[in-house]
Symmetry: C2
Subunit: 335 residues, 2 copies
DNA sequence: GCAACAAATGCAAGCGTTTTTATCTATCTT
DNA sequence: AAGATAGATAAAAACGCTTGCATTTGTTGC
């Protein structure tokens, strides 16, 4: 007694129609007489027939599945994007194949290959820089791709982000306005253009506008993690900084606690602005002033854009910038 | 110039062998002469052939895909489990179809149906109580299922957890030992047996052992969220509690801040023990004493168990309890 | 009542693999 | 040297569905 599956053929026989008709009913094709539709539906119900998505995928070349590449699912930033992606995907009846491509363990290209083999209809890519081999792999597959919270300096690939340059510039200017001359830039990997190009540029632009010399020794590159934040505090302090822009909330929270735990008064003696406005910014004391990105929306809009691509709809704008703002909390002195 | 896919047939022709032989090579079947294997591999390389997983799935009845049902991907608890699941899945060459089934928006059964339609080889289920209709759906599909961090009182379905009864009992006893007579039990949904049966039982057992009467007005049922934690603080305080067991870290962190922000001294005036030992417990001040669950491992072991089921290996133990402990931090008075 | 047309249905060829069965080809045995 | 045996390979039938095309049925107008 094996897993006795009932197929479209069984339904067809039982309803005395052809497989084609059953298929039409199942797929909501309007070219079916109401009474035959009724009849078929009744048999489907009776036999408890469930279409096999794999067979469907093979026959139709559409799997109603999208791949989502995420660097670290436990990082609230990415998880929040994923939530938006998921909701919109569900809305449009797509399933998500999730794969994490954390720098170390799972190499992007391997992961990508396994996802593409599954014939996904589209792909959302988050995190990390896209290198040439990855780009080539994507091109070759001809699968629509959208980057979420991730930047492609060549603007070849569709993407949804905020204006990182402007956001960081504003944040930095804010710190300058409150009297800081030595502002640290505490960042994740600089080889990710989002940091190394966009955010850094905003930081530099604000300095330049205030005629403060850019000092490379105030740039601290580390990884996105709580521990890394704690660990980098001392170095930043010793470099003489009196404020910092931090490019990730986990990192910022670790950094903040690194300071707080050594008795530094924040914001009185040191100001911090972080970048993602996740729940973490509200959990710590003092609460963190943050650049606010519409995380959920970035994910949602990215997925929506992808659905358009998959439907071969006309896309007017494939590089989307969503609005940002700065939420003032208690890690900065009121201005 | 459509997406010109090259198939196993192309490879076979080019290498002047049959499709069957190519298939054997691709699948590492040993019954191929080394020189033919070589020849075929060369052609595969040359044509840059990639097997189509969908066709494979249809022909072999194995998709090398597992479904993962998660209540809320932004909750670090579940995300941590997912990380463990993902790593082991990747190790065994499975892809993950992720679907979130948050109580409200996405109904479990709908989600389940769409995942099962995709012919997943197995399923990891997290969160929420499994009701009869869900159970029926699972049974009918004959797909192996493992619960991760989720309990099935009937023990019919494989699962990986800690001993919640014992853990909560210990934690409660600890609070009793430090002098508390009125200990609140701040919990997520009680209709989830993990709360309503296991944890509550542990809480009651500790009280009973200390001859403290169980007082239902000290049980606070709410949802797993930061806001909910903040919101419930007042009620708990007014109920006269001097300590609390909280069953989720986000909830606990909100609860803690609810207290801290109203000037209550923790742990001097109020003690808190939370349940998941996620990063959040270290981020807040004071840091939270917590029951420690091996989150990553729960996910990893669950996935490993699932692989065994999918291989139809003999399972000696389908209800697995991993060890727990209590990590003492600063939300409890040293004992 | 019949031609002309549109709507509904059926037929059957795929989709790209795996897998069973059969066929071949070496290599041993004695 | 012939028969036996095991290992390689080939042929072809699934797998469960979609879809283009052909055919049938039903409708409409005159």
């Amino acid at each position: 007694m094996e897993k006795q599956t009932i197929t479209i053929y069984d339904v067809a026989r039982e309803a005395s129609v052809s497989m084609a008709t059953v298929s039409r009913v199942v797929n909501g094709n309007p070219n079916v007489r109401p009474d035959t539709r009724e009849k078929v539906l009744k048999v489907i119900e009776k036999l408890d027939y469930r279409p096999n998505a794999v067979a469907r995928g093979l026959a139709s070349h559409r799997t109603t599945t999208v791949g989502v590449i995420i660097p670290d699912i436990t990082n609230i930033f990415y998880a929040s994007l994923a939530r938006g992606i998921n909701d919109v995907a569900t809305m449009y009846k797509y399933n998500i194949i999730l794969a994490s491509a954390d720098e170390g363990k799972h190499k992007v290209n391997t992961v990508l290959e396994s996802i593409l083999a599954k014939q996904v209809d589209g792909l959302i890519y988050m995190g990390q820089n896209i290198d040439d081999s990855t780009r080539k792999e994507l091109d070759r597959s001809k699968t629509p791709v959208v980057l979420a919270g991730t930047v492609d300096p060549t603007a070849k690939i569709g993407s949804v982000n905020i204006d990182y340059v402007a956001a960081v510039k504003e944040a930095t200017a804010r710190l300058i306005a409150s009297g800081n001359q030595h502002i640290a830039f505490v960042t994740g990997p600089l080889n990710d253009p989002i940091n190394g190009q966009y955010r850094l540029k905003g930081y530099q632009a604000a300095l330049a506008e205030a005629k403060i010399a850019y000092d490379e020794s105030l740039v601290f590159e580390t990884e996105y993690s709580y521990r890394a934040g704690e660990a980098v505090w001392d170095a930043v302090k010793h470099a003489g900084a009196t404020a910092a822009i931090v490019t990730d909330d986990e990192l910022a929270v670790g950094f903040l606690n690194g300071g707080v735990d050594t008795g530094v008064k924040i914001p009185e003696d040191f100001e911090i602005i972080t970048s993602n406005n996740t729940m973490l910014t509200e959990i710590v004391r003092p609460k963190l002033t943050s650049i606010a990105q519409p995380l959920y929306d970035i994910g949602a809009v990215a997925m929506r854009l992808l659905t358009k691509m998959m439907n071969k709809e006309e896309i007017d704008q494939n590089t989307i910038l969503l609005p940002h703002s700065i939420i003032t909390r208690n890690s900065t002195r009121s201005k």
